[in-house]
Amino acid sequence: EMLFHSRDRSDLEPSPLSRAKPIADLRAAQRFLSRYGWSEVPAAWGPSPKGPAEASVGSTLVQAVRRFQRANRLPASGELDAPTLVAMNRPRCGVPDTRLPPPAILTTPPAPLAPLGPRP
C-alpha cells in the first residue's frame, strides 16, 4: 500500500517510483510545451538537428516559453527560470491549453515532424 498514518489518509505518501518526473530541464520543458500545445517543436527523441535547424528550434522554444509565461502572469523572459518551472510542475489537466498561431505568424519555420506512417 501507499504509506499513510492519518485516518483520513491526508498524509498519503506516494512511492517515489509512482511520482511524476519533475520538469527541471530543457528537454522536459520542451516536452511540456509541446504536449500542451504551446510549441510545435516536439521533444527530441532522436539526434538533434544541426546547423540552422537548431537556431530555429531554440527561437521557437523561446517564443513558446514567453507565451506560456504571459498566460501564467509571469515575466515573459523566454527563459526557463524557477517560477516558470514551478508553473509547469503544478497539478494540471491533461488537455492541451492552446492552439498554435497560424504558420504565417511564426517568424521561423518549425522543425519538420517525424512521419506518422502511411498517408491515409
Binding site: P22, P91, C93
Partner: protein, 428 residues
C-alpha cells in the same frame, strides 16, 4: 508513431460524433441531444474512494452543469457500453487503451475527450467532498466534464476551466462567466412556469426592529427554485422537489399563489384545480384547519365566491387590495375586504391590461402572474416569454403609456437567469 497518431486523434471527434474543430476554436460543436447518459466504468474504479462515493461525486458534478444548461444527465448502469455518451474511469500510467499515458503522482491529474470520455490519474490523491486536502475529485470532475461538453481551457481567474488545479475550500460553484461560456454552446434554460411569487418573511434584527425580507420562487411541475435577485441566478443546488420545501400542498403543478397582505391580514394561499390551501408560515407547512374548524384544502368557490376553477394564475394587488384571478381570456378582480368579485368583472384580459404594442399580448391562458418586489413591477409569464405591466415609474418616463398596459414581450431567460431543469433522477 502509433502513439503520436492516437494522441492527435484526441483533438478529433470520436466516430459517430459531430465533426468539429480543435479545442480552442470558436466554432466548437456540442452534443446535439438534451439528455446524456454517463457511467463510471466498472473496471476503472479508483482505489482511493468507495464506489458509491465516486458515483455520488460524479452525479453531483454532472448535476452542477445541468443546473446551468438545458442539458440533463442520467447515470446509465445497464445499456451496452458503446451507447453510453460519457464514460469515466480511473487508471495509472498506461490505462484503458488511452494513447495518453499518465505521469504518476503530480502534474497531470486527468484528461478528457470532447464529446467523449474522462480519465482520472489514480496515482493522484483524490479526495471526497468532506476533505480539504489532496485534490478535490468533484472539482476535477466538473472541469473535465466541461471539456467533454466542449469548453477549452481559460486562464480567467475564478473559472473552473483553468488548466491548473487551484486548491480552495471544499465548496466551489460555476461562476457567471463559466455559465455564459457553456450557454454559448447549448443555449439558456427556457420553459414555462406554473407559478412565480415572492415570499415575505418578517424578521427582527439585533435591535428588535421588524424587517421584511422577500424570497423569489419559481415553480414548475414538481420542483421549485429560489431565485437570488442580487446574484442574478438561482440558489446553488436548485431545483428541489416541492415535496421537501412546501409541506402539505400538492406536490406538483400548482396553479397559483396569492399573498393577501393588509394591516390586519397576512394570509398565503396556494391554488390547484378547484381547491386551495392556506400556508402556515410559522410552522412551514399548509394549515390543516381554518379559523372556523373547517379543514383544508377548501373549495375555491367557498373561499372566493364568484371565482371559477381551475385557474390559470392570480396575483394580489396591495394598493387596491384586490386579487386578480385569471382564467382563459378573462380576469376577475376579487375584493378581499368584501369577499366578492367587483361588479364590473369579469373582463377581458386585453381590456384590463391592454397591449402597448398592437398584438403583442399573451391574450389568454397566462401561465403565471407575478408581482416582483425586486423590480416593483407585475409580470405575466406565458411559455418562454414575459410581459411587464406598465408601472408608475414607466408612466413617469412615458406618460403616453396606457395604465396597466403590457409592454412588449421579452424572453424570461434574459431577466431570470439559469432556472434550469435537471434530470428527474437527480432530484432525490
Amino acid at each position: 508513431r502509433v502513439r503520436s497518431k492516437r494522441f492527435l486523434q484526441m483533438l478529433l471527434p470520436r466516430p459517430g460524433r459531430q465533426q468539429e474543430d480543435t479545442w480552442d476554436s470558436k466554432a466548437i460543436r456540442a452534443f446535439s441531444k438534451k439528455t446524456l447518459s454517463w457511467r463510471l466504468v466498472g473496471e476503472a474504479y479508483s482505489s482511493q474512494l468507495s464506489v458509491d462515493e465516486q458515483r455520488y461525486i460524479f452525479r453531483l458534478a454532472f448535476r452542477m452543469w445541468s443546473e446551468v444548461t438545458p442539458l440533463n444527465f442520467r447515470e446509465d448502469l445497464t445499456s451496452p457500453g458503446a451507447t453510453v455518451d460519457i464514460k469515466l474511469g480511473f487508471g495509472r500510467g498506461r490505462h484503458l487503451g488511452c494513447p495518453r499515458v499518465f505521469d504518476g503522482s503530480g502534474q497531470e491529474f486527468a484528461h478528457a475527450w470532447r464529446l467523449g470520455d474522462v480519465h482520472f490519474d489514480d496515482d493522484e490523491h483524490f479526495t471526497p467532498l468532506s476533505s480539504d486536502s489532496g485534490i478535490s475529485l468533484l472539482k476535477v470532475a466538473v472541469h473535465e466534464i466541461g471539456h467533454v461538453l466542449g469548453l477549452p481551457h481559460t486562464y480567467r481567474t475564478g473559472s473552473i476551466m483553468q488548466p491548473n488545479y487551484i486548491p480552495q475550500g471544499p465548496a466551489f460553484e460555476l461562476d457567471w462567466s463559466d455559465r455564459k461560456a457553456i450557454q454559448r454552446l447549448y443555449g439558456s434554460c427556457e420553459g414555462s412556469f406554473d407559478t412565480v411569487f415572492d415570499w415575505i418573511r418578517k424578521e427582527k434584527n439585533q435591535y428588535g426592529e421588524v424587517r421584511v425580507r422577500f424570497s423569489t420562487y419559481f415553480f414548475r411541475h414538481g420542483w421549485y427554485w429560489l431565485y437570488e435577485n442580487r446574484n442574478n441566478r438561482t440558489r446553488y443546488g436548485d431545483p428541489l422537489p416541492l415535496l421537501t420545501g412546501w409541506r402539505g400542498i400538492p406536490t406538483q403543478s400548482i396553479d397559483a399563489f396569492v399573498h393577501v397582505w393588509t394591516r390586519r391580514r397576512d394570509e398565503r394561499y396556494f391554488f390547484k384545480g378547484n381547491q386551495y390551501w392556506r400556508y402556515d408560515n410559522d410552522k412551514d407547512q399548509a394549515h390543516t384547519e381554518d379559523e372556523r374548524g373547517g379543514s383544508y384544502p377548501r373549495l375555491i368557490s367557498d373561499g372566493f365566491p364568484g371565482i371559477p376553477s381551475p385557474l390559470d394564475t392570480a396575483f394580489y394587488d396591495r394598493r387596491q387590495q384586490l386579487v386578480y384571478f385569471f382564467k382563459e381570456s378573462w380576469v376577475f378582480a376579487f375584493d378581499v375586504n368584501r369577499n366578492q368579485v367587483l361588479s364590473s368583472y369579469p373582463r377581458k384580459i386585453t381590456h384590463v391590461f391592454p397591449a402597448v404594442e398592437p398584438h403583442n399580448h399573451p391574450f389568454r391562458s397566462i401561465d403565471a402572474a407575478y408581482y416582483s418586489y425586486a423590480h416593483s413591477s407585475i409580470f405575466f409569464f406565458k411559455g418562454k416569454a414575459y410581459w411587464k405591466v406598465v408601472s408608475d415609474k414607466d408612466k413617469q418616463l412615458n406618460s403616453r403609456l396606457p395604465l396597466n398596459g403590457l409592454l412588449p414581450k421579452r424572453p424570461a431567460s434574459e431577466k431570470w437567469f439559469d432556472v434550469c431543469d435537471v434530470h428527474t433522477s437527480a432530484l432525490s
